[in-house]
Amino acid sequence: MASVENTVFQNEAVAVDGTQFKNCTFSNATLVFAGGDLPSFVDCQFRSVALEFDGAAVNTFKFLTGMQAGGFSQAVSGILAGIRQR
């Protein structure tokens, strides 16, 4: 896993797959996840960030919305509900 430390990301898109971010600041940045290895954020700060998705992540969303329309709404709802369980 790649490691990035003590870096400020400002006004840019950052590919986060498989990267450990330590003591970084994301200001007005876009975090792009493509379904790869999960990133890690340690002691990081987020200010005005947006989430963007690519590759397998987008495919996942397409699969879920497609199956939801195809009769699997209950199963899809269950998966989505699990995201916001703290």
């Binding site: 996840f33 999960l38 005005s48 947006a50 989430l51 590759g55 397998a56 969303f61 916001r84």
Partner: protein, 217 residues
């Protein structure tokens, strides 16, 4: 992409990535998707079957959950909301700035509020002018209302003063001062004279204050 047609799957866990299923039946099955090429289901039947995510697809859900727990509640919430509505999350979901919200410029609203402020200020100025100059009144709590002098004493009853009041006063004043500075007769036949202030002062110092007879004696 592999194509499977007219098949029945019972009690199975099926990896569906990159497969095309035509006229297939899935009974009590788990369809496992891992984020690869999207499967196609054409004229298929599903009986008591469910879906499961693996690989990159599972990573995606785990990532969202992690970001939500990390504090990006609004951003992740927006993604989930879109998916629940059956739409793909936008390429750039709204950026939420928790510290401030850019509202742009609204000159029309600014003009309206400025106009209201000007009107209120003008009304206050008019009210002050009315109360202080045009119709001033002094109201003492519990006391009589004091009207302007012009309404308390009718104009026709006010004493008529000469136009050259100042000159008249100066002339009278000068005459009286001259009279006090010289000796002369007030009524010679009656033996009444006037003396100067200095004479009177000296006489009083020497003789004391004079006694005047009461009127009628």
């Amino acid at each position: 992409m592999a194509t499977l047609s007219n098949q029945t799957f019972n009690d199975e866990s099926i990896a569906v990535d990159d497969n095309r299923y035509e006229k297939c039946t899935f009974v009590n099955c788990t369809l496992v998707y891992s984020g690869g090429t999207l499967p196609v289901f054409a004229d298929c039947k599903f009986d008591n079957s469910t879906i499961e995510l693996g690989g990159a697809a599972s990573n995606t859900i785990t990532y969202l959950s992690g970001m939500y727990q990390g504090g990006l509640l609004t951003q992740v919430g927006a993604v989930v909301k879109d998916l629940q509505r059956g739409k793909l999350p936008g390429p750039e979901p709204a950026v939420v700035d928790n510290e401030s919200v850019y509202t742009g410029t609204n000159f029309r609203q600014l003009g309206v509020y400025s106009g209201i402020l000007v009107i209120i200020t003008a009304l206050l100025i008019i009210a002050y002018w009315y109360g202080a100059y045009w119709h001033p009144t002094n109201n003492i709590l519990g006391g009589d209302v004091v009207q302007p002098l012009s309404s308390e004493i009718p104009l026709e009853l006010m004493p008529i003063l000469p136009d050259d009041l100042a000159a008249t006063y100066d002339e009278l004043n000068d005459g009286q001062r001259d009279q006090l500075a010289v000796r002369g007769w007030v009524d010679e036949s009656a033996g009444i004279a006037h003396i100067t202030i200095d004479d009177a002062s000296a006489w009083m110092v020497a003789n004391g204050a004079p006694e005047f007879a009461a009127q009628g004696e």
